[in-house]
Structures are given as structure tokens and as C-alpha cells.
Assembly symmetry: none
Homo-oligomer: 257 residues x 2
């Protein structure tokens, strides 16, 4: 029995049972309790466990803030809430188009238990997220990789998306404004998104609260072209009356403003 191996096994047990007891581990591995305590010390120092009296408990906190996805943390609960709402709108066997956004990735996580979905996307992150689901049809548009984005754009992307007819589009954007409509960071993206809108029967806009009253460079479409809006927090009265007036259903999570 290797020291490192024992440490891994303790960690596994910890993850299964959320806690471990020094005395149990001692007899389980046939080593002294001091040794176990030293192992737990290390796990504690590595931030994987929290040592207490008589044993240790799992440090759950650590699973979420992985070193890399720092930027994705921005308004994670909001995106999570949106994802849950969207998941209720999608049925087994649906054909959906998804654009590139961190919200879209959250939505994919929330859709994992659905069956026989067909997903069409130009987002590399969405593809990566979906590599290990089974029974789905996952289609990547072709296209040119946009520098510093994990997204495919250009005429080839537009052309390939245009050849599909999907049930639903999950659309994201950089800004939504009463006067300027729905806008995105650049023309490449907005052109692809326009193609997506032409290829989907129902267009669902998934935006978190930070996008309201923002204007970005390139217009995707006017607001009434959207069939439904899903967001995390209740929009202002102004927005709600606008949506009501244009008969656009608007779903949102709990908390006010």
C-alpha cells in the first residue's frame, strides 16, 4: 500500500460518504491513527477536506471554483436559473439551435437528462460540453473559427445552419434595448444569429439581467421578432409592460429587480 494510494482512497471515501473517521480508516488500512491523521492533514492543506475532531469532512466548496473557469463565474446563479427555466420548455426529441454563450453551456448541463435531442450549434464550448451525452444528435455548423472566441462564423456557418429547420432557438446576446433592439458584439456573430432565427420555429431569448438596457455594436433583430424571453430576475415594470404589449411571454426566476 502506497502512501499516495492510501491518500487517494481516503479522498474517494470522503467524496462518497462526505466524511471519514480516523479510527475506521486506521483499521481499514491497517496503519496507525497517527498516520491517518497525517494523511488528513495533507488533504486539509490541499483544501480538499476539512479536518475536525475524530475525522474529516469533504470540502465541497472547492469543486465549484476551479482555477480556469473564472470568467464563467460571472452571474453563475443567474445563468443556472435561466437554464432551469429553459429546460422546462424543451421536450424529449426536440430539435434545437444553440448559439455560443456561457449561458448556453449552463443550459446544456440542465438538459442532460432529456432524451433524443438534436442540437445544432456553432459553439465549440457547447460541443465539448456534449461529447459524453448519448443518444443525442449533435451537429456542428462548419465555419471559420473566430479569433479568441470558441465560435464558428462566416458564410459557411450561415449556409450550414440555413439548411436546417429546428423547433427552437436558444438565443443569447450582448444587449437588449427598447429602442435599439437586440444587439451583439460584432457583425459576424449577428449574421450567424440571424440565420439561426430563420431556421427555427420558436425563438427563445435567454439573457441574464445584466443585458437589459445595454446596446452593443451590431443589431441581431428587433425585439418583437423574438417569441419568448427567459431571464433570471424580474425585469422592470417598463420591460414587463413592453413584453405584455407585444405579447411576448417572459419567464424569470425569483428575486426582485
Amino acid at each position: 500500500m502506497l502512501a499516495a494510494e492510501r491518500k487517494n482512497l481516503i479522498l474517494e471515501k470522503l467524496q462518497d460518504e462526505k466524511k471519514v473517521v480516523v479510527s475506521e480508516l486506521s483499521v481499514l488500512f491497517g496503519v496507525s491513527e497517527e498516520t491517518i491523521r497525517r494523511d488528513l492533514d495533507k488533504l486539509d492543506k490541499e483544501g480538499l477536506a476539512v479536518k475536525g475532531y475524530g475525522g474529516a469532512v469533504l470540502n465541497e466548496n472547492n469543486n465549484l471554483d476551479m482555477p480556469f473557469h473564472v470568467r464563467k463565474k460571472k452571474n453563475m446563479e443567474g445563468k443556472q436559473k435561466i437554464a432551469e427555466l429553459i429546460a422546462e420548455l424543451i421536450g424529449d426529441g426536440d430539435h434545437i439551435i444553440v448559439d455560443p454563450s456561457t449561458t448556453a453551456v449552463s443550459i446544456m448541463k440542465a438538459l442532460r437528462h432529456k432524451k433524443r435531442l438534436t442540437v445544432i450549434t456553432n459553439s465549440i464550448e457547447v460541443l465539448v460540453e456534449l461529447t459524453d451525452v448519448s443518444g443525442w444528435d449533435i451537429i456542428s455548423s462548419g465555419g471559420t473559427l473566430r479569433e479568441n472566441y470558441l465560435a464558428l462564423v462566416g458564410p459557411r456557418a450561415i449556409e450550414s445552419i440555413s439548411s436546417f429547420n429546428a423547433d427552437k432557438l436558444i438565443l443569447s446576446c450582448k444587449g437588449i434595448d427598447l429602442k435599439k433592439g437586440i444587439t451583439d458584439a460584432n457583425e459576424m456573430f449577428s449574421q450567424v444569429k440571424q440565420a439561426m432565427m430563420r431556421s427555427a420555429a420558436q425563438k427563445i431569448l435567454a439573457v441574464d439581467c445584466t443585458k437589459f438596457n445595454q446596446v452593443a455594436f451590431s443589431r441581431i433583430c428587433e425585439i418583437p421578432e423574438i417569441d419568448m424571453v427567459v431571464t433570471d430576475v424580474k425585469p422592470s415594470a417598463e420591460w414587463l409592460s413592453y413584453f405584455a404589449e407585444h405579447k411576448i411571454p417572459c419567464l424569470y426566476g425569483r428575486q426582485e429587480k
Copy 2:
């Protein structure tokens, strides 16, 4: 027993059993423990294992730490060597087609300093690797995501690849055999690779030494259809004479057999 071969076997054992013990490996391979330690050292440096007292345990961590599970595989120096050799064959401004493989990812790293390359690929990993290079044209074939692979396949992938005419193809495979030719794991992949061959003027096979005399399920092509072979270690006399006979240049790294 080749050093690299031994290292690969250790890695396999490591992946099977999650841990290896220095003393065991020493008697298993009939080499001294220091030699084993040096091997484990390399595996540790490559991030594949974590060396500890008395042995090493598998490093599962790297599946999670990257934004996407870019799993590194065995024989990293071999792939590195191949990548360096390939880099010398590629000129600024070239149009190249790249298929999905870990070797291809290594090659992309080695090509980073080139200018104005056009890369056409169906590999998601290659796309991710290239998101932050500037001045290149990076084109993704469309297609269906193959479950558990980060690769696009199917008629759409084939169709879009067929619409290009590239200078060079960097081809990988699962097996190369004198009788059975060049083979890959499944039909989906080999069909796409055949399309790639039709779309490229020069076909360069990039394979590490472990692929020689291996036969996989689905044939990609006969060996003479390849224009050049690049590998990490000097192939056997049998292979060298075969290549000479068919006038296929063969580049390789240092060590014997």
C-alpha cells in the same frame, strides 16, 4: 525492451490499476529500480502520473483542470518529436488539413510561430488549441459530433472537406501494417479521412512508433497512397526498405528501433 516501450507499458499498467510500485516494476521489466524511477519521473513531468514514495499513482486530475478535458495520452515525447519534424515541412501561408488526434494537437503547438496558415479540421481539440493564434484562417468542417470523441464526422463533414483544395494533409491513424495498409478505429473516421486525402495535394502520415504493425477495424487507404511518413523513432529495416521501394520519404527522430 525499448525505453519508450517500457514507459508506455508502465503507463498502461498505471491506467489499469491506478497505481504502480517501483519494486514490482523493477522485477517485472528486469531493470534496476533507479531506471523505473527515472521513467516515473518523466511520466510525472508530463503530468500523467504523480510520483510518490514507493511508486506512483495515476493523475486523474488533468481531466478536470483544463477548460475542456484535453486528455493527454501516452508517448508525449514521441509526439513532440513528430511535431518538430512536421513543423519543418510546413511553410508560411500553407493550407493544411488536420485530422483529430493527440499528435495533431502537438503539431499545432509546434506550428504556432508560422504565419498566415490556413487550417481545415474536424477536430474540436485542434480548434480549441488554435483559438488564440492570430492571423491564421481556421476552418472547421461541420458535421455530427461523434460520441465520446472530440471529432466531427458524417456526410456533412465529408461534404465540407471536399469543397477545399489544400496543400498538405497531416494524417494520423490507429494502425499501419504492410498487408492491411493504413487503418482506423471506425468507418466514420476513415471515411472523413478519405475525403481529406482527396482534398490535399501532399499526404503526410504522422504516426508514432506504437502504430506500426497494428491493424485497426476500418481501412483508410493503402500505404503507397501516402506521400510521406513522419514518425518518432527509426522504423525497422523491413519498413525502411518498404518505404524506399515505394519511394516514400520517411522522417524520424533519434533513437534506434
